[in-house]
C-alpha cells in the first residue's frame, strides 16, 4: 500500500522544500518589519478607517499586535489564499495531468484499483503540506523571538495544525476538478477559480444577512486571527473541513471508477 503516494510525494519533495523556504522568508521578512511598523505607524486608526468587510476578509483586527499582524499578513494571505490556491492548482493536475499526457494508460495497467489510484495520488500531497507547515512554524517561532515579540507557542502550533484540514479541503477541491476534466489546464483553472471564488464569497457575505451563503466556503472554518489573537480554536470547523475533504475524495474516487479514460 501507498507505493504510488510515496512515489508522488518524493517527486514533489523539491517543490515542497522550495515552498517552505519561500514562505519562511516571507514570515521572517514580516517579523523583521513588525518592530518598525508598530513604532512609526498608528495601525489601530488605520484599520478603523477601513471598511468592515475588508477588515473581516483579511482578519485585520488587532493588526497592531504581532499576533494580529502575522495572522493577516502571513496566515490570512500566504496560507488561506496563496497556499489554498496552490494546493487546489496542484491537486487539479493529479489525475488530469496523467490522463492528458497518456501516462494514465500505463498506470491503469498496474494491478491497482482506480479508487486506490485516486486516493494515493491525493495522499502524495500530504507530506509536502506537513513539511511546509512544520518548517514555517519553526521559522516563525524563532523569528518572533529574535525581534522580541514572541508569539505564543501553543497558538502558533494550533494555527498550523488547524490550517491542515483547510489545506486538505482546498486540495480535495482540486482533486475533484482533476477527475472531472480531461484537460489539465482546464482542471487547474477551474479549481483555482473555485477556491478564489469561495474566498470572495465568504468575504463579501460575512456580517451581512447572506452570511449563510458563506457556509460553503472552506475559509469560514479556519480563522487564523481568532486563533492567534483570541486563542479561540474552532474544532467544529476543522471537523467540517475534514468531513468535506472525505466527501470530495470519495466522490472523486467514485467518478473516476466509472469514467472512460480516453
Amino acid at each position: 500500500m501507498l507505493e504510488l503516494a510515496a512515489y508522488g510525494a518524493r517527486k514533489r519533495l523539491k517543490g515542497a522544500l522550495a515552498l517552505s523556504v519561500g514562505l519562511s522568508a516571507f514570515s521572517a521578512m514580516y517579523a523583521a518589519f513588525f518592530p518598525s511598523l508598530t513604532g512609526n505607524l498608528d495601525l489601530g486608526s488605520y484599520v478603523e478607517a477601513l471598511p468592515p468587510a475588508f477588515v473581516e476578509a483579511f482578519g485585520l483586527r488587532a493588526f497592531n499586535t504581532i499576533e494580529g499582524f502575522l495572522a493577516t499578513e502571513l496566515y490570512q494571505f500566504a496560507w488561506v489564499i496563496l497556499l489554498g490556491l496552490y494546493l487546489a492548482y496542484s491537486a487539479a493536475s493529479l489525475i488530469s495531468g496523467d490522463v492528458e499526457s497518456g501516462r494514465m494508460d500505463v498506470l491503469l495497467s498496474l494491478p491497482v484499483s482506480r479508487a486506490r489510484l485516486v486516493a494515493e495520488q491525493y495522499l502524495s500531497l500530504v507530506p509536502g503540506i506537513l513539511l511546509v507547515n512544520a518548517v514555517v512554524a519553526a521559522v516563525t517561532w524563532v523569528a518572533t523571538r529574535v525581534i522580541g515579540y514572541p508569539v505564543g507557542t501553543a497558538d502558533l502550533a494550533v494555527v498550523h495544525l488547524l490550517s491542515l484540514p483547510y489545506l486538505f479541503a482546498c486540495a480535495a477541491v482540486g482533486l475533484a476538478f482533476g477527475v472531472l476534466a480531461d484537460r489539465e489546464s482546464v482542471a487547474q483553472r477551474a479549481a483555482m477559480a473555485t477556491v478564489f471564488g469561495l474566498f470572495l464569497l465568504e468575504s463579501v457575505v460575512t456580517n451581512t444577512d447572506y452570511a449563510w451563503a458563506g457556509a460553503v466556503a472552506p475559509m469560514r472554518y479556519f480563522d487564523p486571527t481568532a486563533i492567534l489573537v483570541d486563542g479561540a480554536y474552532d474544532l467544529t470547523g476543522a471537523a467540517i473541513l475534514v468531513g468535506a475533504t472525505l466527501v470530495l475524495v470519495a466522490a472523486s474516487q467514485l467518478h473516476f471508477r466509472r469514467k472512460d479514460v480516453n
Binding site: Y7, K11, G102, R103, D105, V106, L108, L110, R114
Partner: protein, 299 residues
Amino acid sequence: MAAIELRDLTKRYGDLVAVDGVSFEVEAGEVFGFLGPNGAGKTTTLRTLLGMQAPTSGGVSVLGYDTTVEDQRLDALADTGFLPSNPQFDEQATGREVLDLHESLKGGSRRADLVDRFEPPLDRPVREYSTGNVQKLGVVQAFMHDPDVVILDEPTSGLDPLLQDRFNEFVREERARGVTVLFSSHVLGEVRRICDRVGVLRGGELVAVEDVETLLDRSGKFVRARVVGDLPPDAFDIPGVSEVTRRSTDGATRVSFTFTGDVDALVDELDRYPLEELDVEEAPLEEVFLDFYGGDEDA
C-alpha cells in the same frame, strides 16, 4: 478457456462507431496479431479489453476475468502485461525509478534479464529518452512481472530495424515459454514473422481471422517487369491482376501491378513476353486490405 476473449464488442463515441461488434478469442500460448490500418480501431479495442474504457455493448475477458468489473480487472492485471502505443512515463523520473515503482506494485522477477536484453538507459531521466528508449522501457515494464498474457499496441514502432529483430526474437521465445501475446500492428511483415493467427480490423469491424499462412497466401505480390518492345493491349489481363501501370521507354515497356491470383497463371503470362527485368515482392499491407478486405475506403 481462451486467454483473451471478445464477444461482440462495440464501442461508440457519440455517433462515431470506433469498434463494431468484434468477436475473437486468443488461445493460451498463442501469438495473435491484430492487424489493421491506422484508425481502424485497434487501440480502442485493446484499451477496452483492459478496462480503460467501458464497452458500449458486448463483453471482454482476460484470463477468464471480466475486465469491465473492477475486482476482476485487478485479478487479470496481476498476470497481464501491457505496452500502450506511444507509452508515456513520468518525465522527471529516471527509468530506474519508473521500474522500481512498477516492481513494488506488480513484481519484477524478470526485470534484470529484460534490462540486460533491451538496455534502456536506466540512470537517465525519461525526458531525455529517445522514442526508441521509451519503447525499450515500455517493453521491460510489460514483461517484468512474468505475466501469462501480454497485450502490446504497436510494439515495434519507434524501434530501429535491429532492435525490431531482437524484439521479434524475444516474442518467439516468450511464445515457447507459453506466454499468450496479443499485439497490434499495421505492418504485415512483422506479423508474419511472429504470429500464429491474425485478426484483420478495418473501419472498426473484424473482417477476417486467419492463420498467418492463409493471410500470406492471400497477401499478394507486387510485380514489376521490363519488357522488350511494346505490350499488346490485353497483356496481363488475367484474374488477380489489379492496379496495372505501364510506361514505354527506349523501346521497352515498364509494367507494374498487384497480383493476388494463381502463381502458375502469372508465370505463364510472363512467359509470353521477352523480359529484361523482373521483380516480385510482397505487396504492401494497404494493397492487401484493398484487395481482400473490401471497399474503397482509404486503407
